[in-house]
């Protein structure tokens, strides 16, 4: 009544109220695109969108890091409509147009993670806070991935993991803002176990040398589970420091341990060094328990295989992808990458390239860069054409479910790049598992106020 006495008519009050309702409630539903302007971390306002590449250019995984960086640069080129388009031409379904992402050109900033979690976190923080990176991506260590993924969750920035193979990344340390295209240690064990049983029999004694951090631990556990299920005995599992260099002191005890299989849960330069030194110790020429001594490298990469040279011939392992697969996606990526850099891409390069495209595609499908909407677009997304067969970004743990390759060092290489041969393509159904077995909690999707 007081308002009416001051000169406001009932009609005026109704008009104002209606305008308010429309303004605060209905309009956002009608104009979805751009509705979250300025409400999330590093919302791009200019004509470019910046992504942060956090890759190891020094340290034990530097080779992988350098190849990852090459792949990211190629992905950015293709997203911006340059080059031959690479996997943009074969991704199914795809919302990518080759004109950047949501009409904005893609730019990038880089940081050397040095394969160290603290350095990687500092680099990611700098790229987010100083350089305005909207998304962080990179590898190649699970210790680094878990650390950066946690940071990204706190800051409300999406993290598209590069090469990370620990069960923890999408297990106990999974995060709503973290996504992994690469396969994991559990899947390596499930895929490799039957092949090892078939090749080496069920009566074997295994000795593990394991990189002493999250990836090594889960790799060792997965391989133990897989080999013990075959009937193998685990003689010992010895942890080695990351970047140990000289593994001789860890290798000498293997010789008289009674073990007839050495499982090297090492990656990158560590694997090159430990395998080379194991061969120097004559392990591949030995007979133990009346059987030929064998070495197994559960996670293989082409770069490592090249570094280890002839030492890897005939050695079994697993891979996320390999450049000589014959599907259209693999051919397109190998052609594109080879033409650009004069060498075939590694699995590290492949997963990083694919992650960049998947993020861009999710933004296009969501119609916004707003992270909770992009997350929704990625969760449960089915796609094909990226070289791994039909793939699903599982909503429950953000793990890509796809085929896994069992590979072996090529016995008679036909070129310097012919270092691994695919022995078996294990179907995604065979390496599927219940996402709850590794625990963890994805956490909230709403952007944090920190950034």
């Amino acid at each position: 009544m007081t308002l009416l006495k001051r000169g406001l008519s009932r009609r005026r009050v109704l008009q104002t109220g209606m305008a308010g309702i429309i303004g605060t409630g209905v309009a956002p539903l009608m104009f979805t695109k751009g509705a979250w302007a300025q409400e999330f971390c590093n919302n791009p306002t200019g004509d470019t969108v910046t992504i942060g590449l956090n890759v190891p250019l020094t340290g034990a995984y530097a080779e992988e890091g350098a190849d990852e960086l090459r792949a990211y640069e190629l992905a950015v080129k293709h997203l911006n409509g340059e080059g031959d388009g690479g996997l943009l031409n074969v991704l199914q379904p795809s919302a990518l147009k080759g004109n950047g992402v949501l009409g904005k050109k893609v730019a990038f900033v880089t940081s050397d993670s040095q394969t160290k979690a603290d350095v990687a976190r500092a680099g990611a923080t700098r790229m987010i806070e100083r350089d305005g990176a909207l998304m962080i991506t990179g590898g190649s260590s699970s210790g680094v991935a878990v650390a950066v993924q946690g940071l990204c969750q706190e800051m409300g920035v999406i993290f598209m993991a590069g090469l990370t193979h620990s069960n923890d990344t999408t297990g106990k340390d999974k995060k709503r803002y973290g996504f992994r295209h690469f396969f994991n240690a559990y899947q390596s064990g499930v895929a490799l176990g039957p092949v090892l049983g078939q090749e080496y029999g069920k009566d074997r004694k295994a000795y593990h040398l394991t990189a002493d951090y999250t990836w090594g631990w889960t790799q060792e556990e997965s391989m133990k589970n897989a080999t013990e299920a075959l009937g193998w005995e685990t003689v010992a599992a010895v942890r080695t420091p990351l970047g140990a260099g000289d593994f001789s002191q860890f290798l000498t005890p293997v010789l008289n341990s009674g073990a007839d299989v050495l499982i090297l849960n090492h990656y990158g330069n560590d694997m090159v060094n430990s395998l080379t030194q194991a061969v120097q110790f004559g392990m591949r020429d030995r007979e133990v328990n009346g059987k030929q001594f064998q070495i197994v490298v559960p996670l293989f990469s082409e770069l490592m295989a090249k570094g280890a040279g002839a030492n890897i011939k005939g050695i079994f392992g697993t891979s996320n992808w390999h450049w000589n697969l014959q599907d259209a996606g693999t051919k397109a990526f190998t052609k594109s990458f080879g033409a650009e850099y004069g060498a075939p891409p590694s699995q590290a390069a492949h997963t990083c390239y694919v992650q960049t495209l998947l993020y861009a595609d999710a933004c296009e499908r969501a119609g916004t860069f707003y992270p909770p909407e992009v997350i929704k677009a990625l969760e449960g997304h089915d796609f094909d054409g990226m070289g791994n067969g039909p793939t699903t970004y599982r909503a429950e743990d953000h793990q890509c479910m796809k085929n896994v390759l069992v590979v072996r060092g090529t016995e008679n290489p036909t070129s310097e790049y012919d270092v691994l041969e695919v022995v078996q393509e294990v179907s995604r159904d065979a390496v599927d598992y219940d996402p709850s077995i590794f625990g963890g909690d994805l956490g909230p999707a709403e952007p944090a106020p920190m950034c």
Binding site: A236, T252, L255, N256, K335, G338
Partner: protein
């Protein structure tokens, strides 16, 4: 069990060889010039990269494109022909196979020059400065050397193949009358141990049996008196710095087949080598050698599964634990001299 212990002993000798060689050079510099040289690890690394450079030079290739063969990405295949082999035939192939030992010929003059330049250019200006300043300047030198190597050769390790004949393992058990495959050990690691023995013996013989060495030893004992006798002891000490650089350099060269060299490999060895020198006794050459082998063997035994089952992680700290105990019992180290680094 005997086999396991014997193998760990061999491994300890092999590790100790590297520690002893680096510690020997460090002690030479400290004993003659009184300088705590934190750039010594960098000299080990520079030597290793002499081997890398030598191999890169002798494996230079001509690249031609073969349009009849295509790479997986559709480009004409590159056909590479090694230049040295096409010039020198069989000798070229031998040169490539034995590139690591041959590269010592390049390493000796290069490291001698680098050592003398280090000493004359920078370190001589710090003789009368406190040890803390010497450490700072030599540490700075090491970082500069590292960054130069990183900018030229990159950050990644560069594998150096050992000669074909030295690949694989020697069956030491058979030599000792045991069954085959009971005690086997990599041939190159045995070569490295023997090489270290020759170098250490050579340095001791040089100091013990030559006039130059006698003057240097006299200078180490009493620099002023030797100077008063009209001997230019400074020049001899400069040469000793060059000699220490050569020892570190060739130790680095021969280590490359065991561990692909990278720009920070010197730093990885430096801390350990200082512990070796301190345990051996500052300024004592026999002490450095004895401590190198002792700590190498202890580290190796600490890595045995049976030992680690009792004390987990002992292999990572054994060297420092032993250093603490020895310094508590013998504050000057195993063979330290009275008055060295003491006020």
């Amino acid at each position: 069990m005997f086999e396991a212990i014997f193998l760990q002993f061999l491994n300890g000798l092999d590790k100790g060889s590297a520690y002893a060689l680096i510690a020997l050079g460090l002690t030479l510099v400290f004993g003659t010039l009184g300088v705590v040289n934190f750039a010594h690890g960098a000299l080990f690394m520079l030597g290793a990269f002499c081997a890398v450079l030598f191999r890169q030079l002798i494996t230079l290739e001509t690249v031609t494109l073969d349009p009849t063969q295509l790479s997986p990405w559709g480009a004409p295949l590159e056909v590479r022909e090694p230049l040295v082999q096409s010039w020198f035939g069989d000798f070229g192939a031998v040169l490539v196979n034995y590139s690591v030992p041959f590269s010592i010929l390049l390493t000796i003059p290069v490291m001698l020059v680098i050592g003398i330049l280090f000493e004359r250019g920078i370190i001589k200006h710090f003789y009368k400065r406190p040890h803390a300043e010497q450490i700072l300047v030599t540490f700075g030198l090491a970082i500069v050397a590292q960054e130069i190597i990183k900018s030229i050769f990159g950050a990644n390790p560069i594998p150096q193949p050992m000669p074909e004949e030295a690949r694989g393992a020697a069956d030491i058990g058979v030599w000792l009358g045991m069954q085959a495959n009971v005690i086997t050990y990599p041939i190159w690691r045995l070569v490295y141990f023997l090489f270290a023995g020759v170098i250490i013996g050579g340095v001791f013989a040089f100091l013990q049996f030559t006039t130059f060495g006698m003057v240097v030893r006299a200078g180490m004992a009493d620099r002023e008196t030797v100077g008063l006798l009209g001997i230019n002891i400074d020049r001899r000490f400069t040469i000793m710095f060059g000699l220490a650089a050569v020892v570190a350099g060739i130790a680095g060269v021969m280590y490359t087949p065991l561990l692909p060299p990278n720009y920070h490999m010197g730093m990885d060895f430096l801390v350990l080598s200082f512990v070796v020198v301190v345990v051996g006794g500052m300024g004592s050459l026999p002490g450095a050698v004895a401590a190198g082998f002792l700590l190498g063997i202890l580290q190796s035994f600490a890595s045995m599964t049976q030992v680690k089952a009792i004390v987990p992680g002992i292999d990572q700290v054994i060297i420092y634990l032993v250093a603490v105990v020895i310094l508590l019992v013998r504050p000057r180290g195993l063979m330290g001299r009275r008055g060295v680094m003491e006020a």
